[in-house]
Symmetry: D2
Subunit: 353 residues, 4 copies
C-alpha cells in the first residue's frame, strides 16, 4: 500500500438559487452538488426555480438536533443490568460532568437504555456544536463507558458501539429517538405554477405520493421511509460540503407528504437524520471551505448555528429534487423524454429513483 | 445556475493488496478508496494484509445477479388487477421480445407482481451486461409499461417507478428477491494470525458479532441488516470506480457471520445488493478509467464478466474493513488508541461504525 | 400437570349478515366472532350492514394461496451452498415426487432459497387442500430435508424450521412471496350511505387512512402494515372457526386503501396472509363444526374450495370492522361516545385500535 | 344479527408447575393454556420441568411497565406543530392533572412526540394499575386531546389514535419506547440436565438460536424479533386469563438469547410488550376469575402488583415453550417423532413454529 493520496474528481455544479425561510434562516442561495449523475442538476434546478416563485420559498423548520453513540455492556444477569440502568438514570449529572471533560463543544443531553437478556445497550445523546459529531461522541462515549465500568458493579465491557446508535445503517431508532438534524421543509405551490412549471396537477402528485412513496415502500418492506430519492440529493450535497457521505444511509429514511389543497400543492419533505457539520473531517479541503463559505456557513456565529444553517439548506435541496422527480413520474413517458433531452446536452446521464 | 462543472476532489488511496479466490476470479490487487474519512484506509489495509496471509485469501462467491425496476399500474378493481397479472404471467416470452428491442445487453429474466387494492406493482428483473443497469432497465421498463397498457384492458398508468424496485431506499424486497450482485465473501483465519495481527480471539469476535451486529441491529429496528459499517467501504469503492454511490443505501444491508472454529476464525460477509458496473455513467472520467483498468475490469471479456469481477473486489473490500473494525471493538479503548495514532499521521480522521 | 382438559369459554356472537361477491363465492352470511372485547360485535355489524346496502356487497378477490415451511441447511462453505441451491433448482420434479408421498392433499408448488455465509435457507411452497397446512407442510419439509441431505454432498442439518417461513412472526417475506390466502376486499359506498350510516365523508376517511394507517404506521417502524386493527377481527373469527389464532400475527400485516371518488368511498382491505382451513386441528370441536357448517364451509366441494370460501368470509369480516373503526375515528369524541353507549348494554367493553 | 351470546369452548389445560424467582415474586405454580394446538401443553410442560430442577428456577426481571396511546393532531404547518410540541413539553404537569381526573388508577408518566410535515403525533405513556389499560388510556387520551386542542392554537383534530401507539400491529416503537410490561426471563441449565432432559447440548441450542432466530428472522425481514414461537404461548396464556389476545401481535416481537457456558446453557427470553391485566375486560368470566385466583393474581395487594405477578408468569411460560421447541429443532427428525407420539395420545395436534 502506498501512502500517496490521489483524488477522485467528482463532477460538481452549483444549482439554483433556491429560497429558504423558516426558524433557522432566510436564505437565497445556489447549492453545490457533486455527483456522477448529471441529471440531478437540472432536476434540483427545477425545484429551486419553483421555490423562487413563491414568496416564502421553502419553509424549513428544524425540529430537533442531537448526535448519538451507543455502548454495550454485559451484566452478570438481567437483574444486574436493570440495577445498572437505574443507577445510570440517577447519575445523569455525573455523566454530564464527565462529558464536559471531553471537549468544549460536546454536551450530554440524555440517554436511552434497553435491556435484552443480560445485555445493556446505552444510547447517549449529545449536542456537538458545529461538528457532525462522529468523533466527539465516540470520544465522550469512551470516557463515559470507562467511567461506568468502574463505577457500577457487575458489568463488563461489551462494545464501544452496540449498533443501537445507529450509524450508517437503516433502522427505526434514529427517526424515533433522534439522530442528527431533523428538518421539515414545506412548499405551498399555487395551482398555476404546478401546471405551468411542473406540467401536472396537485392531485396527480398527491395520488402518486400515496401510491408510490407510501404504499409502494411499505409493500417493499421499507423501514420508516416514504420518498422517491432523498439519497441522491444528500449524496451530492454531502460530497460537495465535506460530509461523511455514508450517512446518506440513514438520511435516505425520510417522508414526503403531498396534498391537493383546492388545486394548490402542499409539498413537504421531512428529513429526520441529517448528519452534517461545518467543522471536522473533510472540512480542511479547499473546495469544501469555498463551498461552505459561499453557502454562508463559515461565518462567525454561535456554536451550532452554521451547522443548522447547512442542515436546512441540505433539506431544502432534498425537497427540490424530490418535487421534480415526483412531478415527472406523474406523466407517462416524461422520464424517458427528459432523459433523451439531457443526453443531447451531456455525455453521461442517469435516470433515478 | 451556471452550467460550469467544477469538481469535488475526494481524497483517494490505493489500499492492499488483498487476495481473492472463488467462482469469479483469482486476484491479487490493491483497491482504490475515495473518502474524507482517512482511517478507512489503514482499517481496510489491515484486513487486506490478513487476506494475503491465508492461501485461499478471501473466497468470494457470486450467488446471484439481476437489476430491477418496478412499474405501477392502476386497475379498475382488484379482480381486473388479478386478471392482468395472470395475463402477464402468460406473456413472458412476448415481454422478453420487447425487452430485446431496448438494447443489446438488456435481457428480461422474469418479473414478480403484487396486488394491493386495485394497484398492481410489477417488478421486472433484468440482466444488463457490464452496466449497473439503472438506465437500461428504466428504458426497458418504459417500453414494457407502454406495451402492457395497450395490450391489457382495464388498467392505466400509475408510475414508471413504484418504489417496489427498490432503488436507494433500505427495504426487504431487494435482499429477498435479488437486486444487483449478491456476493458472499469468506475468510478462514488461523488462530495465531487472529492473535498476532488482530490482537484478539475468534471467540471474542464471534460474540461481538452476535451482540452488536445481530442483537444490536435487531433492537435498533434494522431491516435485513447485521453489520458494523459496510456503507463506509462501499462509499469509498463506489466513488473511486465511478459508481452511483447513492446505492450504498441498499448496499448497507448485508450480514456478517463470525464463528469460533476451535480458535480459528471463520468470518463471512454477505453483500446481497451490490449495484456496480464497468460501463455507463461516471465511467468516462479519466481517473475512473484508470482505476477500473488497474483493477483488471476493462479487459476484453464476455459481457458481464468485468462487472462481476468488480463486484467480488468490492465485496472483498467490505470484508477487510468489517473484520478490522470488529476486531478493534473487541478491545476496550482500542478504537480511541488507533484514533490517536492516526491523528499524528493525518490531519483529519474519523472513528467509524 | 394433570391431563384433564377444561375449556376457556370465550363469548361468541354471530354478526351480520354481510354480502360478499367476487371470484370465490357469492354469499350472504352472518359471521361468528369469539372475543372478550364485545364492542367488536357492533363494530363489525355496522360494516356488515353497509355491505348489504350495496348491490355487489364486498367484492372479495383471492389473488394467491400457498403454505410454506423453510428448512435450514449448513454447507461447508458458500460455494457448496451455492452449488446445492443450483442442484435443487434442477431437481424440482424430483422434490415434487417426494412431496406426493407425504399426503393426498399436499403439492409442492416451488421453492425459494437464500444464502448467507455458508447457510442455505430453503423456503418450500405448497398447496394443502382445505387444511391451513401447518402439519402437512412440516411433514413434507421433513421428508424433503431428509432427501436433500442424502442426495446433495457437503451439506448438513441446520433446522427443520429456519424462521424464513415465517410462522407467527411479523416479517416482510410472507407478504412478498406469499403465505396463506391473499385476499383483496373492496367496497364502493355511495356518498349518502357514507353520510347517513357512518356519519362522516369519503374525504375524511381517505385522509385519516393516509395519516394514521400509512404515515402513522411507517413512523412507528411498522413492517408491511398499514391498517387500524385487522388483528381484532381475525382473532374473533379464527377462534370461532377453529383456526390457529397465533397466525393473527402475520394476519395483522395488511393494507387498507381508501379513496374519495367524487364523494363516494372506495374502501379496500388487502389481507395477504390468511392462514385458514376447514379441516385439521381445532376442527373436531362441536361448535367449530357447527360454525363452519353454518358458514357453508363443510359442503362437498373440490379440495381447497371450502377453505377459500372461509378465507373470503374472513377477509370480508376484516373489512367490516376496519371500515367501522376508521369512520368512528374521523369524528372527535365518537369512540368515547360509542364506548359509553355500549357500556350501558354490556358489562365489559374495550376501545380498540 | 341476534344478540345471543354463545361461547367458543377453547380446550384448556394446566401445565407445570414451573418455578419463578426474580424481582417481582418467588412462585411455584401451574399455568393454564387455552389452545386448539394441544402439543403446546407437553412442550411448555417440558420447560416447566426443567425450571423445577434448577434452584433459582426461571429468574424473571420486570424492567419496565407503561401503557400507551398516541393521538394525532394536524397543524397549520410544521412550525406550528413544532411550537405546539414545545408547548406540550412545558405543560407536562398540567397534562398530568387532567389525566388524574380520568380515573383513580391512571397516571401520565410522560409522552413522546414526532413531527412529519404538518402532522404532530403525541404518544402518551401511562401507568394503569392492575388493568392492561386499553380503555383507561383511551379515556385519558381523549381528555388530553380535547384539552390540547383548546389550549394550543393552530392545531386541529387528526385522530384519537395515530397508529403510533402501537396497538396490535408489529412495529419498532413499542420495544424501543416501551408498551406493556417488559420482562426478561433467564434460566441457567446445568450441562447434565440439558443432555438428559433435552437430549441436546448447550452449544447446539446456542448455534441454532443464532442461525434460526437471529439470522433467519433478519433475512425474512423481521422487525425487532428473534424467537421461534412466543406467540403460541402468549395466545394460550392470554385466552386462559381473559386478556385481549390480539395483543400477541406485539407480544410476538421478543428476543431469545442462548449461550453455551462451558456446557451449561444460559437461556433468556426478553418479552418487551406484555399487555396483561388482572382487572378489566374479559375478567368477569367465571373461569377467568378462577384461573387468576389459582395463579395468585387476585390477592389484595398494592395496585399493579397482581398484574406484574401475572406478567412474570406469562413471560416464564414463554421461556418454557421456547426452550422446548428450540431443543427439539436441534435434533433432526425430533419434531416429527414427537408429533407421532402425541398423535397416539390426542386426537388433534399441530407442529409449531
Amino acid at each position: 500500500m502506498s501512502d500517496a493520496t490521489a483524488v477522485a474528481s467528482v463532477p460538481m455544479q452549483w444549482v439554483g438559487p433556491l429560497r429558504i425561510t423558516g426558524n433557522i434562516a432566510a436564505i437565497e442561495t445556489e447549492v453545490p452538488l457533486a455527483t456522477y449523475e448529471s441529471p440531478l442538476w437540472p432536476s434540483v434546478g427545477r425545484g429551486a426555480r419553483i421555490s423562487m416563485m413563491v414568496e416564502q420559498g421553502i419553509v424549513a423548520t428544524l425540529v430537533d438536533e442531537r448526535m448519538t453513540r451507543s455502548v454495550l455492556v454485559r451484566a452478570q444477569d438481567a437483574q444486574t443490568a436493570h440495577l445498572a440502568a437505574l443507577e445510570l438514570d440517577a447519575r445523569l449529572d455525573e455523566l454530564r460532568g464527565i462529558t464536559r471533560t471531553c471537549g468544549k463543544f460536546v454536551e450530554l443531553i440524555g440517554f436511552h437504555h434497553e435491556i435484552t437478556a443480560n445485555l445493556l445497550f446505552i444510547r447517549f445523546e449529545f449536542t456537538t456544536g458545529d461538528a457532525s459529531g462522529h468523533n466527539m461522541t465516540t470520544l465522550a462515549a469512551d470516557a463515559l463507558l470507562t467511567h461506568i465500568l468502574k463505577a457500577i458493579p457487575g458489568i463488563s465491557y461489551g462494545s464501544i458501539s452496540g449498533n443501537y446508535c445507529t450509524d450508517k445503517k437503516a433502522t427505526a431508532i434514529n427517526g424515533i429517538l433522534g439522530r442528527g438534524k431533523n428538518v421539515v421543509t414545506e412548499l405551498l405551490i399555487p395551482r398555476d405554477i404546478v401546471h405551468r412549471t411542473l406540467h401536472t396537477s396537485a392531485g396527480a402528485i398527491a395520488d402518486l405520493n400515496v401510491r408510490k412513496n407510501l404504499i409502494g415502500t411499505v409493500l417493499a418492506g421499507g423501514i420508516r421511509s416514504a420518498n422517491a430519492h432523498y439519497a441522491n440529493m444528500l449524496l451530492g450535497f454531502y460530497l460537495a460540503t465535506g460530509q461523511d457521505a455514508a450517512n446518506i444511509v440513514e438520511g435516505s429514511q425520510g417522508m414526503t407528504v403531498a396534498e391537493d389543497r383546492d388545486g394548490d400543492l402542499y409539498f413537504a419533505c421531512t428529513v429526520p437524520n441529517l448528519i452534517v457539520g461545518t467543522v471536522g473531517n473533510g472540512k480542511g479541503l479547499d473546495f469544501v471551505e469555498e463551498n461552505l463559505t459561499r453557502l454562508g456557513c463559515r461565518s462567525p456565529r454561535e456554536p451550532g448555528e452554521n451547522a443548522r444553517r447547512l442542515a436546512v439548506i441540505a433539506a431544502a435541496t432534498v425537497l427540490c429534487g424530490e418535487l421534480s422527480l415526483l412531478a415527472a413520474q406523474t406523466i407517462p413517458g416524461e422520464l424517458m423524454r427528459s432523459h433523451v433531452r439531457l443526453e443531447r446536452r451531456h455525455e453521461t446521464t442517469k435516470i433515478g429513483g
